[in-house]
């Protein structure tokens, strides 16, 4: 193991950790925000195929400077690329893939997740702004595995893993795994099971930051990403 900090993970480290669970041959949709970063941290030599809701299967990394193509955008409307073997489909087919269970993994951001895997990630009901749902609800019901990346607590330090979500739901009982800046937690029929914690973290400390009860997996591991994860070459 390389030198480790006891600090909570940063965004890149959270994305790196989630990327390690993507398997060779997986078809994966990455939500806007931290999930998008995960594409860069898939281990070298492992082929993972990324889906973009606007109609790309086989999305590649950001374009190199000077090679930008205005006809290539991702779900976040950022410029992107296509890998060899990728293709284009129309919007209804892109969402057929999402809703129909064809994706192996949907990696999403979240405001809150409940003990039973309820997901809230589409609206905070701010009355000053119109709500926007995008593909969040589609992504939350369709993939074979729904996984979430999020900070363990709010900016005020309040738990975001709750007995019941306080924000409107995106979908019920859908989240299977949560990657936070402190831990990796599985949502199981028997409750939340902690698989990994950062160095120095204890179940007691983690529980204090988490509303529903946590169990520690007997074979739990230290969550120790590289200090500065190396992004894959384009």
């Amino acid at each position: 193991m390389t030198s480790q900090s006891h600090e909570p993970l940063n965004r890149e480290q959270m994305a790196w950790r989630a990327a390690q669970d993507l398997k060779e041959g997986d078809y994966v949709n990455l939500g806007i925000g931290i999930p998008t970063l995960a594409a860069s941290y898939v281990p070298p030599g492992r082929e993972v195929i990324f889906h973009s809701e606007n109609g790309i299967l086989g999305m590649g990394p950001k374009p190199e400077p000077g090679k930008e193509d205005p006809y290539m955008v991702d779900a976040g409307k950022n410029l992107t690329t296509l890998v060899a073997g990728g293709c284009f489909v129309h919007h209804a087919d892109a969402f057929l893939m999402i809703r129909g269970g064809h994706l192996d993994v949907s990696l999403l951001g979240a405001f809150e997740v409940s003990a039973s895997g309820d997901l809230a990630n589409w609206t905070t009901e701010d009355p000053a702004f119109p709500p926007g749902v995008g593909g969040a609800m589609d992504l939350a019901v369709g993939a074979r595995a729904i996984r979430v990346i999020m900070e363990h607590t709010s900016k005020k330090g309040e738990p975001r893993i709750l007995k019941a979500c306080t924000y409107p739901l995106t979908a019920a009982n859908c989240v299977k795994r949560i990657y936070t800046n402190l831990a990796v937690i599985d949502v199981t029929p028997k409750g939340l099971v902690v698989l990994e914690m950062i160095p120095g973290m204890t179940l007691e400390k983690l529980q204090a930051l988490t509303e529903p009860p946590l169990q520690l997996a007997p074979d739990w591991k230290v969550l120790a990403p590289p200090v500065a994860p190396k992004a894959r070459a384009a």
Binding site: N54, V73, F88, H90, H91, R99, V133, D138, G142, L169
Partner: protein, 223 residues
């Protein structure tokens, strides 16, 4: 001889009536029929219902229609994209109505109309705020909501190439909503970068078959 090409963008949007439902393709700024939207602004139709993924950007295209008070309602999945100040202003002024739909539900409801079906059950939004008021049904142990077909009076489409029958092809991710919206309206109007001879497009790779297209206008752009 069939020739769906019209000479001007004004010809392309002629006859759009007040109160029409207009399907506007594109995702972000890609594959959006901005020139037809400006032509529709000139044309002057009012009280429009717009179906789109986003709610317009800057001061052109859909945003301009909204700023000019032509839009009564927007059906979209994500209004908060880019500089959506025109929409935001109208939304706060309550001068337009917003119907928020899950993104995949928008295209699937349009395909449903295109396919001559009466509606479908979807698990998306079941049990959520966006599913409230919709008929629900448990199917194979899973809650579904009933979604109705969504039809456009007009579809505004952006394609790359067309022939005189109206066969269309697109460039990369500019395809997005275009093929689905082209199927789902009574009148499908297309702005294209260029016309090609009939038979020049590969019959294996035409994305939108001519049967869905009514009018084509060349607006230049990428050759």
């Amino acid at each position: 001889m069939i020739d769906k090409q019209v000479k001007t963008t004004a010809d392309a949007v002629a006859g759009v009536r007040d109160g029409s439902t207009v399907l506007v393709a594109g995702f972000g700024a890609v594959g959006v029929p901005d020139i037809l939207l400006d032509a529709l602004h000139e044309q002057g139709a009012r009280e429009l219902t717009i179906v789109a993924n986003n709610s317009g950007n800057g001061d052109y295209g859909l945003a301009r229609l909204i700023s000019s008070g032509r839009v009564a309602k927007v059906i979209c999945s994500f209004p908060r994209s880019g500089d959506y100040s025109a929409f935001l202003h109208a939304y706060r002024a309550k001068s337009l109505e917003l119907e928020l739909l899950p993104q995949g539900t928008i295209s699937e409801r349009m395909r449903c109309h295109a396919a001559g079906l009466g509606g479908f059950f979807s698990p998306v939004s079941a049990g959520t705020k966006l599913g409230e008021g919709k008929e629900t049904r448990e199917i194979d142990g899973r809650l579904h909501v009933f979604e109705k077909p969504l039809k456009g009076d007009v579809a505004l489409i952006k394609a790359n190439k067309a022939d005189r029958w109206g066969n269309l092809s697109y460039i990369k991710s500019a395809r997005n909503f275009n093929p689905v919206m082209a199927m789902a309206a009574d009148l499908t109007v297309v702005e294209v970068d260029q016309m090609v001879e009939l038979g020049e497009m590969n019959p294996e790779t035409i994305v939108t078959p001519s049967i869905f297209v009514d009018r084509v206008v060349v607006v230049g752009g990428k050759a």
